[in-house]
Each structure stands twice: as structure tokens, then as C-alpha cells.
């Protein structure tokens, strides 16, 4: 009780703050809304078909059964789709971030003609939703003969991901005091060293946030993959899941096991990188 009531008091005060109570309530409600379907999915995935039919959706799986995962893995061809997802995501996300970070550094810190024009182009790029571009992209990728290939999907992903990341990182790099890179230049560092040794560490929180967002988005991307990856051997997890869903609609246990296996990697990446989210890593660089 004392711990709970602590949460409702501002630090160093012993009066209950109604604002804090309201905030906590809102948080709890929100968490419930998000967790409920999740519980449903996990519980169902662990139940045998019999148990799914005969117990309530939110009843604890009394005899947890991992058989659903095994059979969904085989029937849904997860080894192929997971492999494709790993290849595409593990190439696209780091590569895209690296390109974006270098471009953003150059635009923000290297004196250049036309850098404003480039930045404007990037901003323009962030305004185009790629869904409206699917048909032209398909034609383009097809013209290059890249349908059903990894480059065929990675290149458009990069094209639509990079501008947005450049835009965010440019804002961040531009705010780093110019004296920092000047001091490093005097110390003899090249632009690449300044980028790697000073800007990358300083921007770790932003980079990890972008990495998480981009990883989840790429891992779960559906529309572009559907258009470009038509051969089932090239499918990614969301495509495999859709196919699985249409085939084994009524087998709730396996379906939910498939869903969990699809989203789990993204959740793991999120948990791995969220600790870098801490802001304020630049404090102390310069005297405010």
C-alpha cells in the first residue's frame, strides 16, 4: 500500500496529487487495452485445439503446449520466411542508418554548395507515402529485372527510409555545437573520424530509436513486399503469415503461434536497444 500511494505523490511531498492519480489511471487503462489482445494471443497459442474450443479465451492454458509452434513453423514455411526476413532486415536497417547518418552529417556539418537543396529534396522524400508509389516502383524494379530478389526489395526500402532518417538526424547533428567539430578538426581529425568518434556516440539515443523503429517497420512491412516478392521462396514473415492465415484460419492455436513467432524478433530488438533511449548524453560537452 505504501509503495502504491508513493506513486501518487510528487517527489518530496506527502500530499496525494490528483494529477498523478489521473496519469496513473490513464496508464493502467492504456496498458490494459494493449495487453488484452496480447494475452489472448499468447494463451491461445499455448492451448491445444480442444482447449481453445472448450475454455474461455482468457483462461490460463492449464497444460501449456508448444506443439502449435512446432507445427506452425513447419506448415507456415517459417524457416524460409524467417531467413528472408533476417537477410532483408539485417542488411537494410544498418545500411540505411549508416547512409542516413553520413548524409545527415555531411549536410549539417560539411560546408557544401547546394546542401540546402539536398536537404529540401530529403524533406520532400519524407512526404511521399510509398503506397501511392507501388505501381511505379514495381515497374522500375521489374525493369531492372530485380523482382523476387533481395536487392529488388532492399533498394526501394532504402529509398523510402533514408530521407526520413536524414531529416531527423540532420536536425540532431545541426544542434551539436560547431565548436565540437572545430576542436576535433584542430586536433587533426578527418571528417570521417569526427563523424565516427564524436557524432555517432553523441547521437546514440537517436540512432537507437531510429534503429528500433526502422527494424520493426522493415520486419513487418507488407505492401511493398507483396508487390515485389511474388515467389513464395522469397516471402518475408508478414507474407507467410497472411498465407498461413488464409490456409489455416480455423486452427487458432497454430495461427496465434505463427503470429507470436512473426512479431517476437521485433519485440526482442526493441528490448535490446531501448536502454540507449536515455536522452541527455551530450550534457557536459559545452558549458551551457
Amino acid at each position: 500500500m505504501s509503495l502504491l500511494s508513493q506513486a501518487f505523490r510528487p517527489v518530496g511531498s506527502n500530499r496525494v496529487d490528483p494529477m498523478l492519480v489521473a496519469l496513473w489511471l490513464a496508464l493502467v487503462v492504456l496498458a490494459l487495452v494493449w495487453i488484452t489482445p496480447f494475452i489472448f494471443i499468447v494463451f491461445t497459442a499455448l492451448k491445444s485445439s480442444d482447449a481453445v474450443m472448450n475454455t474461455s479465451a482468457f483462461a490460463l492454458p492449464t497444460e501449456p503446449d508448444f506443439g502449435n509452434f512446432v507445427s506452425a513453423w513447419q506448415r507456415g514455411n517459417f524457416s524460409t520466411t524467417a531467413f528472408n526476413g533476417v537477410i532483408i532486415t539485417f542488411i537494410k536497417v544498418p545500411l540505411g542508418l549508416f547512409i542516413s547518418a553520413m548524409a545527415a552529417y555531411a549536410l549539417a556539418k560539411v560546408p557544401m554548395r547546394f546542401s540546402k537543396v539536398f536537404l529540401a529534396l530529403c524533406v520532400f522524400g519524407t512526404m511521399l507515402p510509398f503506397q501511392v508509389m507501388l505501381a511505379p516502383i514495381f515497374k522500375q524494379v521489374n525493369a531492372f529485372g530485380l523482382i523476387n530478389t533481395y536487392p529488388g526489395i532492399i533498394l526501394p526500402y532504402l529509398a523510402f527510409g533514408v530521407p526520413y532518417q536524414v531529416f531527423i538526424l540532420h536536425g540532431f547533428f545541426a544542434a551539436v555545437p560547431k565548436e565540437l567539430s572545430e576542436a576535433a578538426r584542430i586536433d587533426g581529425a578527418s571528417h570521417f573520424t569526427i563523424f565516427r568518434r564524436i557524432f555517432l556516440p553523441v547521437s546514440l539515443p537517436v540512432l537507437s530509436a531510429l534503429l528500433i523503429l526502422d527494424f520493426v517497420a522493415t520486419w513487418n512491412e507488407f505492401a511493398m513486399a507483396l508487390v515485389i516478392l511474388q515467389d513464395p521462396k522469397m516471402w518475408t514473415l508478414p507474407l507467410g503469415l497472411m498465407n498461413f492465415q488464409s490456409q489455416f484460419q480455423s486452427n487458432y492455436g497454430e495461427l496465434n503461434a505463427a503470429i507470436i513467432m512473426t512479431v517476437l524478433p521485433a519485440a526482442i530488438v526493441y528490448l535490446m536497444f531501448q536502454r540507449y533511449f536515455v536522452a541527455g548524453l551530450t550534457t557536459g560537452a559545452v558549458k551551457e
Binding site: 555545437p177 565548436e179 565540437l180 572545430e182 576542436a183 576535433a184 578538426r185 584542430i186 586536433d187 587533426g188 581529425a189 573520424t193 568518434r197 564524436i198 556516440p201 553523441v202 548524453l281 551530450t282 550534457t283 557536459g284 560537452a285 559545452v286 558549458k287
Partner: protein, 349 residues
Amino acid sequence: MASVQISNVKKSYGAVEIMHGVDVPIGDGEFVILVGPSGCGKSTLLRMIAGLEVVTSGDISIDGKRVNDLEPKDRDIAMVFQNYALYPQMTVAQNMGFALEIAGRPKAEIKAEVEKAAEILSLTPLLARKPAQLSGGQRQRVAMGRAIVRNPKVFLFDEPLSNLDAKLRVKMRAEIKALHQRLGSTIVYVTHDQIEAMTMADKIVVMNAGRVEQIGTPLELYDRPANLFVATFMGSPAMNILPAKVTADGISIAGVATVPMPAGLSASGEVSYGLRPDHVTIGGQDAVSADVLVVEPTGSETHITATLGGHEIMIVSRDRVDIAPGSKLPVSLASEHAHLFDAVSGRRL
């Protein structure tokens, strides 16, 4: 150690020329301070020496070698910035050793150099800390340490003490001065602070609106300012400047007082009569009456603002003066320390 030669340097941003031909000779091992009002181009000049700004025209040479087109790292200079610009993710030791590390020096040597500099600046206990865990004064010292470790030919400082409180500033002033004596290096130092300039410099360069007004030792500038600008800029409180006319009887000041021509000076016609506040005497035989506006006792001195013939003057007295605003004060403007300036050009006569 090296000399620095700045010859006819001009700087433009786009079409706007902000520096109009600056010449500053800096001797080997000299401590040179650039002063001037905000926006006069001190930082720009310093940054041109460092190679952080392009020189529009003119030459900058270090040790007789023209450096206009050299990268900052190839000029053998080190710079201490007003906001210190410490690398936030690196420890104090890494910050200080960064330049040597980039230069590819062996680890053991870097460690030795960093420890030596840390010793000089009493930073040894802080070597493992990050900048965020340091006080302002400590950060300032790390920034200096980073410069020392490189053992550069020339140190450049851009208002390094302006973020420190008054007490720490006095302490760091002494430390920098001691450092200069110890290393014997050439230093170019920008400051707003009169006292800093007067106490630390071998040579002061007074700048105004992109031009050099005067170069000289602190006492030269104080005792023989070359023009009205330097006269009023150097010294605090500022020198009193009163319009005057040279007549047969001497100098008639603001139409209210006539004083004899100071020894060694000669002039005629309209002039500006300059007298430092501490050379205005209270009382005396040829005293005239001034109206007291403000009285500010500082403890050791009394600062009195008064008007004389419609002109405001400042009087600094070493004695406690017991006088109320609004009353009359007899003051004498006669002094062998007076300065005369051409009324039109402002040049010293």
C-alpha cells in the same frame, strides 16, 4: 614557439566586408590580447589564425611560413573555446590525448604526455571522469590541458574565462599567466575583460569595427592612447572626454573651466580634452562647481557621476567623499595627465 604575422588581412562574408585590412605582428613567446567591443571581429581574426575561417585577402604566417591555405591541424596551433567544446563521450584523459591519438602516437607516450599536462593543471584525480561530471572551472582546465598536450607553436584562446564566476576567473587568470611563463609559448587571447587584458598581456591589440585601433603594451595604451576610441575603451571607469578650445590663456573646457596646457603638449583650435576619472581632483584653487548626480562608494574608492557645463563627468576619489546627489562639488580638471585629441579625427595630439 613561434611568431605570428598578420598582414593586411581582410574578411568578407558574402558581399559584406567585416574586416578591413588588419596588421598585427606577434613576436615569439608573446602573450597578445585582442580586445574590442562586441562584433568588432576578434573571434573572426582568431579563427582565421586557427584556419577555421577562410582569409578573404592578406596573409597569415606562422614562423615565417604562410598558412592561409593550410588545414587547422597542419598549422601547429591549439585553441581553447569559450564553451570549452570537450568531447562529451570521452573521459578527461581521452579528451586530452585525442590529438596525439589521431596523430598515431604510441599509447605509452600519449599516457605520459596526458599525465604530464594533468600534473601541471592539477587534473590528475579527474582523468577518468567525463566532462559532464566536472565543474565549469575544471572543464576549463581540461580544455587548456587538451591544448597543452599538443605542445603547439601557438595557443589561441577565445574568451576562455567568460563562463566562470569572478573569483575563479581571478584564479584562472593567474594560472594561465603562470602557464605562459612556464611554457614560454606564443599566445593569442581574446577577451572582453579589461582587467584580464591589462594584467595578462605583453601586448594588447585594440580592435574596432574590423580595424586595429592601436597596438601596444598595457601601460602604453593606458598612458598614451592613440585616439579617442582607445582612450575611452581602455580603463574603467572610462576616460572623461570634454569638448575644449585652445586659447591664449590655455585650454577652455566645455566653456566652464580654463586649465593650463599640460607640459609637453601643444595644440590649437578645437580639441577634445581627455582626463581619467582618477585624475579629476576634488577642490583645488581653480576648481569649478559640478552638479553631483550619483555617488557610488566601492569601498576602496568613491565613484561620483556629475555634470559640468552640460557634460557628464566621472570622478574617482581614493578618499571617502561624504556628499549627496544634487549637491555641488568643486572639481579641478587641471592635470599633467590630461590627453588632447583632435576634435575632428579623434587622433591624439
